[in-house]
């Protein structure tokens, strides 16, 4: 904890501890439904942290993050349900598989820049998606998906939700600590240099490609961790975990929270992943039900509201929520580049 607070510096130890205590107390205050929403927020916060490591740290724009997320989820389902492996080793194998695939695909794609990197990673992810959907490799159970098995009762979401929530929250904290360590390490500084100017970084003797593959592998492992937790929370892994929509969620969480900021993905995940249940809640209120049908549809439609928000963010808040808040307070949570 001390290393983390030192690395963070700004938000204040008291604020962080306070937020953590409140987050940990969620199962005592809210219904099981909202606890499952909380699990979802933690899972996607981890995915966002992973994506932010790429986009915000080393400046890689990927459209293939779903591959690293879904692969670990499928590995867990496959190994527990078909090979009879117990959960923990299956999870470890899943995370390693995601990191390994990230290293391999990163090796191929890291020569490409900007949108070309995005297109190549999208290509690899789509191969995974189609393989899973058609069950061509006999690995995925096709469109029906693959149920996970051998989940201990304690973290079985159908039995109780609080333990899985704490597991997800604890994992998120560990992942944030890891990222804080990376930020403060020499690797983190090298990645900043690559993001700001890869030509100059190369001229200074940094092996740009190697650093990109390293960052992509770490991001792959973290996306795998999110994928394993996601598999636990939905119990049946479907091809959707490999679809572009997962990558888009990671991207939006990162951008809305604030690209390159430490807390951005957490804020972004809280915002993006609670919007749908909150809009459902809103649709049930008397105020909204009193509106005319098209208007009711308009104020409760997630695509309409999120789509409008993305546009407004790009136009007016490109630094995201955390970036804008930092500027308002006149203190920068993001170290000067």
């Amino acid at each position: 904890m001390r290393a983390r607070a030192a690395a963070l510096g700004r938000p204040g130890v008291a604020g962080v501890v306070g937020a953590l205590v409140i987050a940990a107390a969620v199962p005592f205050w809210f219904s099981p439904y909202w606890v499952t929403v909380g699990i979802d927020v933690c899972v996607f916060a981890i995915l966002g942290v992973s994506y932010n490591l790429l986009l915000g740290r080393i400046g890689l724009f990927s459209l293939g993050h779903a591959l690293l997320f879904g692969l670990a989820a499928y590995m867990v389902a496959n190994l527990t349900a078909r090979s009879g492996l117990s959960l923990l080793p299956a999870a470890v194998v899943g995370v390693i598989a995601s990191a390994a695939v990230a290293a391999l695909t990163g090796l191929v794609a890291s020569g490409a820049r900007g949108i070309y990197f995005a297109m190549m990673t999208l290509a690899f992810a789509q191969v995974g998606f189609v393989l899973a959907e058609t069950d061509a490799a006999g690995f995925s159970g096709g469109e029906d998906g693959l149920p996970i098995s051998g989940v201990p009762e304690l973290i079985n979401i159908n039995v109780r939700q609080d333990a899985l929530y704490w597991l997800a929250l604890g994992t998120l904290v560990l992942v944030l600590v890891l990222v804080a360590v990376i930020r403060a390490s020499s690797a983190g500084r090298l990645w900043n240099a690559v993001r700001e100017n890869d030509v100059r970084a190369a001229a200074l003797g940094i092996d740009v490609r190697r650093q990109r593959v390293a960052a992509y592998s770490v991001a792959g492992a973290l996306a795998g961790v999110a994928g394993v937790l996601f598999a636990l929370s939905i119990q049946t892994v479907t091809p959707n975990t490999l679809s572009v929509s997962v990558t888009v969620q990671a991207l939006l969480i990162t951008v809305i929270g604030g690209t390159g900021t430490f807390w951005g993905p957490v804020v972004g995940a809280l915002f993006v992943r609670t919007s749908s249940p909150l809009l459902d809640e809103l649709a049930g209120t008397g105020f909204v039900q009193g509106l005319s049908a098209p208007l009711e549809r308009a104020v409760t439609s997630q695509p309409l509201i999120l789509g409008t928000l993305y546009i407004l963010f790009v136009l007016y808040l490109p630094a995201g929520v955390v970036g804008a808040a930092a500027r308002v307070r006149g203190r920068f949570t993001r170290e000067p580049a």
Binding site: G114, E133, A136, L251, S301
Partner: protein, 291 residues
């Protein structure tokens, strides 16, 4: 497989290639010339499909459907470029986010207006029959699609290489500051190219309706990935490449699905994976193709 079946599959593959070309060429033109990543391209396709379905199901001629799709796409593309998308030139991430948000909004509006379910276009009077060629049998409409694909390909190539607007846009891509300094309005050229790309997307959506029998709100999301796949296989931004890639994917899908049902959905991504590993710059790289 006998000769007649081979001919049938070949023509069906070419017709599919024509639709894919219309779809991918708009994306490729906008990317190749304006360096703009349009993730709303699939939503444009969707609008084209619904416009066509509404007109054809209401008893209008299919040519009216095509004309309205093209005109609507051009007008909509022009308007969007002017008020919104122009602000994101030079920033790929912003382009992606803006057009992603736009795509979500357009798709949702279509879903609200037309409903969440498949909308059938009904029986079409024109080109409904079959033609026998070399022992094979193919729908008249598919032959018409092939003709449209060839016509659009040749027409766009002519515009880009032989007309003033093509010259301005090509020069504007090389050096916008210099072209402006010489007194030519580059921005207007870019707006027009954007309108052309959007019109092609709606045309592709309209053209794809008769073979599938109607339109579905999820079309846009399916098509945008396919469009990017073809653009990557051909070489991002390469107009000639997108044509070659679209025809290759069309033909391979057609033959593959004869032997193996899921083959048609595997072909595009497998081809893309092979191309990326062996020839990551695409079949015809933009630098070589010049257009």
């Amino acid at each position: 497989m006998d000769g007649g079946t081979a001919v049938t599959l070949f023509l069906n593959g070419l017709a599919l290639g024509a639709i894919l070309f219309l779809l991918a060429s708009g994306l490729t033109l906008i990317f190749g010339l304006l360096d703009f990543v349009n993730f709303a391209h699939g939503a444009f396709f969707l609008v084209g499909a619904y416009v066509f379905t509404a007109i054809a199901a209401g008893g209008g001629s299919i040519f009216l459907g095509f004309a309205v799709a093209i005109a609507g796409g051009a007008a909509g593309g022009l308007l969007l470029e002017r008020v919104l998308l122009r602000r994101a030139y030079g920033n790929e991430l912003h382009q992606f986010l803006l057009t992603l948000g736009l795509g979500l909004i357009i798709t949702e509006v279509v879903r609200v207006i037309a409903g969440p379910n498949f909308k059938s276009v009904g029986e079409l009077e024109f080109f409904g029959g079959n033609v026998s060629i070399l022992g094979g049998s193919v729908q008249e409409y598919r032959l018409f699609l092939i003709a449209v694909g060839v016509a659009v390909f040749a027409g766009m190539l002519y515009v880009l290489r032989r007309t003033r607007i093509g010259l301005i846009v090509r020069a504007g891509v090389e050096n916008p500051g210099m072209v402006e300094a010489l007194g030519t309005n580059v921005k207007r050229g870019f707006s027009i190219m954007f309108a052309v790309g959007a019109a092609l997307a709606l045309l592709a959506g309209a053209a794809a309706v008769p073979p599938s029998g109607g339109a579905d709100p999820s079309l846009g999301e399916e098509q945008i990935v396919l469009a990017f796949v073809i653009a990557v296989v051909g070489g991002l931004g390469s107009y000639l490449g997108s044509a070659l890639a679209a025809v290759s994917v069309g033909l391979l899908s057609s033959y593959a699905s004869f032997y193996w049902e899921p083959g048609s959905s595997m072909v595009p991504v497998l081809l893309m994976a092979v191309v990326l590993l062996v020839r990551p710059q695409g079949l015809i790289p933009q630098a070589r193709a010049r257009v």
